[in-house]
Symmetry: C2
Subunit: 228 residues, 2 copies
């Protein structure tokens, strides 16, 4: 695969997307990273996305502001819904309506402007099986739609939605990321991280991350708040 | 078809989407209208969308601000590209990258929160055949993706993307809209409308609209600027 070609990489600042960025940079010389400010409570993630993009060697990082919170419906964007500290059955309350669809659509717009050939996204169907827009059949349908949506498609160029983590466990993601040199101390996964990016250690996201380091058999570099 | 069910209707303030709103209101009791502020030059359109929503009887109208212009690439959002006054071959320069994909994704998010069953969009494959994201095959692929993307889909409810104008000529759209009582004097189509919504009479959009009224055999209620 040519390293000259461009890719858009969705980078949240979390563990998964930092790993995806490392994987994308191995394949593509020019990676353009895209993050979203959508009223999420953990804005320390965005600072992490910026830092990771710079230090890992992305060509350019952009943050797009989304009005997604205005449409309501998730504990991550609606201040009237509490973030739960324990795993629940079915679709989690932290699910943001159509989030990946909105994210991928902006990535598609930028990919079209840049004439990029891939969009990398760190969705995972193993640990987050409750989210409908993390399933392989969803990603395939999105790719098919994207290849009908754009000028590139009409002109015969195609775009691929790349999901290198989709079938990996958290422990496998961590092992592959460490092999690629990812510094996980720089990533923020906690739904309720404080201004310095310190994690609560209790929410679903913290729990999955902690288990991942345990199962990978490596020490957890996450900085937790003292009060946990 | 039950009138009790909800629909999200994309309303730009132009002729096409005003017609779509009239069609949706005939079928659905509760229509929620959604408009976008994406740095388009013709913001008179947004005021028209608000007025049309209120006067025609939408349940609620929301305007979502989009950062689409920040990603560049179109004469409609990029101030460094001139809006052409004449039709061109191929994909027009007024094409905004992935625009309908981004619009539909927000509509999908709102539809999910509202538990709406349809999204109405005024795309048209006849007069605007240059836009890839106005083609029927694109809409079908989007609908398939949407039905894999959401909580509703997992729970067995489905969502339809409705495009009642897709195969109509501008004259047919106007005739059907007039039958439904649409007041086209309230709509703004011009790419370069002024603050009062007065049209330039020269851009592609004005030209198509003018021809539509001529072919429909009705008088054109559009308010043009004196200087044209």
């Amino acid at each position: 695969m040519s390293k000259q070609k461009k890719a858009v990489v969705l980078v949240s600042g979390g563990l998964d997307s930092a790993t995806v960025l490392a994987m994308a940079l191995k394949e593509r010389e020019q990676c353009y990273t895209l993050s979203f400010d959508y009223g999420q409570r953990h804005c320390a993630e965005l600072k992490a996305a910026q830092r990771l993009s710079q230090l890992m060697g992305a060509t350019e990082h952009r943050v797009v502001s989304l009005d997604l919170g205005a449409l309501g419906g998730s504990a991550l964007t609606d201040a009237s819904i509490a973030v739960p500290e324990h795993a629940t059955q079915g679709i989690p309350i932290t699910y943001v309506p159509a989030r990946n669809t909105v994210f991928l659509s902006y990535a598609l717009a930028w990919a079209e402007v840049l004439q990029a050939e891939d969009i990398f996204i760190g969705v995972n169907a193993v640990d987050y099986s409750g989210y409908p827009d993390c399933r392989p059949e969803y990603i395939q349908a999105y790719e098919k739609m994207a290849n009908l949506a754009t000028k590139a498609a009409v002109e015969g160029r195609s775009i691929a939605i790349r999901t290198p983590l989709i079938n990996l466990s958290k422990a496998e993601i961590i092992r592959q990321g460490l092999d690629l040199g990812v510094d996980y101390a720089m990533t923020v996964s906690c739904y309720q991280a404080d201004g310095q990016g310190k994690a609560c250690g209790r929410c679903d996201s913290c729990r999955l991350r902690k288990e991942g380091f345990e199962k990978a058999g490596v020490s957890d570099p996450t900085i937790y708040r003292a009060s946990r």
